[in-house]
Symmetry: C2
Subunit: 350 residues, 2 copies
Amino acid sequence: MAQLEAITAKPVATLDEVARVAGVSRATVSRVVNGSPKVSPDVRRAVEKAIDRLGYVPNRAARSLVTRRSDSIALVITEPTTLLFSDPFFPRLVRGVSAALSVRDLQLVLLMPDDMDDEERTVRYLTAGHVDGVILVSLHGDDPLPEQLATRHIPSVVLGRPPRGVDIDFVDADNRDGGRRATAHLLANGRQRVATITGPRDMGAGIDRLAGYRDALTDAGIEFDESLVATGDFTHPGGEAAMERLLRDRPDIDAVFCASDLMAAGALGVLQAAGRRVPEDVAVVGYDDSPIAPTTRPALSSVRQPVEEMGREMVHLLTGNIERHGRVPRHVVLATELIARASSAGRAMR
Amino acid sequence: MAQLEAITAKPVATLDEVARVAGVSRATVSRVVNGSPKVSPDVRRAVEKAIDRLGYVPNRAARSLVTRRSDSIALVITEPTTLLFSDPFFPRLVRGVSAALSVRDLQLVLLMPDDMDDEERTVRYLTAGHVDGVILVSLHGDDPLPEQLATRHIPSVVLGRPPRGVDIDFVDADNRDGGRRATAHLLANGRQRVATITGPRDMGAGIDRLAGYRDALTDAGIEFDESLVATGDFTHPGGEAAMERLLRDRPDIDAVFCASDLMAAGALGVLQAAGRRVPEDVAVVGYDDSPIAPTTRPALSSVRQPVEEMGREMVHLLTGNIERHGRVPRHVVLATELIARASSAGRAMR
DNA sequence: CCGGAACGTGAGAGCGCTCTCACGATGAGA
DNA sequence: TCTCATCGTGAGAGCGCTCTCACGTTCCGG
């Protein structure tokens, strides 16, 4: 297992040395380092001086060994393909998680298993108690990991509402409300026949955004029409295919809500190739507010998720989870925001 | 420091228990676990059976304590802003690094300091010997971290050739050759007045891609013309501004090589707004082959970097570095690839 | 038949830390 | 004045592992 040979010498001071320099016992230094209140002010000062002088930094391994805590949490990303990589979702999430951990002096261990072998290694690693908690990012619902961790009592939080109602903490963006907002926005702009290109029907985000679309129709007193719904897969080509289908089946549409920006970009291209002007003939709204949104022509309206905040919130939940032994599963759903751009500009009311 | 309270009980077996079950000593079990050759086959088998039965997994902290190795390396990303987040560079790199570490049974600790406070914490953490090596991703040359690590003899590898010639291992894509390829491609398509929008002049990638542009001109026997060069900053608005300047100063250009896709997308918009057809009037090539490249209209030709491979190579270098005490700095430069799309389609030779 | 190399194995120290427990000093209450 | 908390401090055990060293076998050559 151990792979790295011959590490350079590390002249770091130990607790013992600090104790000697400060003229106290190891126990007292430990108390100072860990902020125990039962140390007299002058002793504390002396110890702090010694720590400064020696540049002492506690040895994490030694501490872990006795506390049986690692002070590190794992971020596990089990997303096989490009999906996660095509928008800045991942970096933003990681940044949120990282920032939240950093202020708590917790360490972030990143795990991205990419084959079965790796996956097994990951499970073994996690269940061996090498981390105090796990943040799981796997967009598909068929991942066995959450349950494996739950049965082994490893505190964990997942991103996105699990399709099956596993009793587990999760953080999600309000996909349903996001879908509702996007659709309502199109309707408010005077659109009459609003179609939608959905995400995969087995993913929470796909299901919820479609539900939001229906909500908006209901709110507006418009009947839901199955022929205005095309199933996509969040990708650019998927969006193109869905748009072609839509255009063939329902040439009369005047707006499309796409459950991802990538699909929206694909739809945009197909619409324009078919001679439809955007937004004059057909308005388009995407989802994710990815960096491509402002760069399409016309610039794409989109629904923005508070991704960094989701990361922060996951850490928050997880640390709470660890403290209270994960008694009651908790769920946090964060609000989205509609960013209106040219692709859904209003037109004169009929 | 220690923040997490009350961890769940961990019923994991210890070396001692395995030894007892297998009827051997701790030392022997340790030998088996670590693959020592000096164990007889039958004893080894017995130990392995016991390990299986008890589900034994070595305690990393205990091992670290004695070996003074952590079997983990840090990936430090000190990129303050959006740059890293607007293209899939980061996720791809992380995936490459992660995969390479995983097969070596090394752990990836991700550090993304985002303020001064954080930065200090990071330095303290790294220099405390909590990791066996460091992979540094900081695109700007003014980062003090590489030198800090070097003076403290922490093995490290940086991404991208450092602007100042620090004696440190690095992995880079061949930006110069990439710039050359892109420009040569435009020239080969019959373009006469090829402009370029560069990256920041204080970043290796910016400098090198421009140098490649000059190389291609030289190769083609064309004199370098300063008025065909506009400095950008890798961003979309930066590309727009540079393109406007170019169009004003040199309305006669018939091709542009942009040092990033984002800038190319910006340039595309400005060109089209100015009534220039792409690629008929002006051909455009970008850089990075980001996901926006195939989605622009027309689809953007671009230079693709082997990002995953760069990640893998960094790990490779780093582990080697750790083993041989980083004697001689090593540099790895990986080749790029031109992805030709519609934006640079050839036109009939004059 | 014996000395010694070669090999497999076990005993035990110790990595740097935390934490329990005991101890002496101080102060309050009777 | 004499208890008895209270408080700050130190001694020491022990977390789970690796690694050195010593020991017992086996097997060779002389």
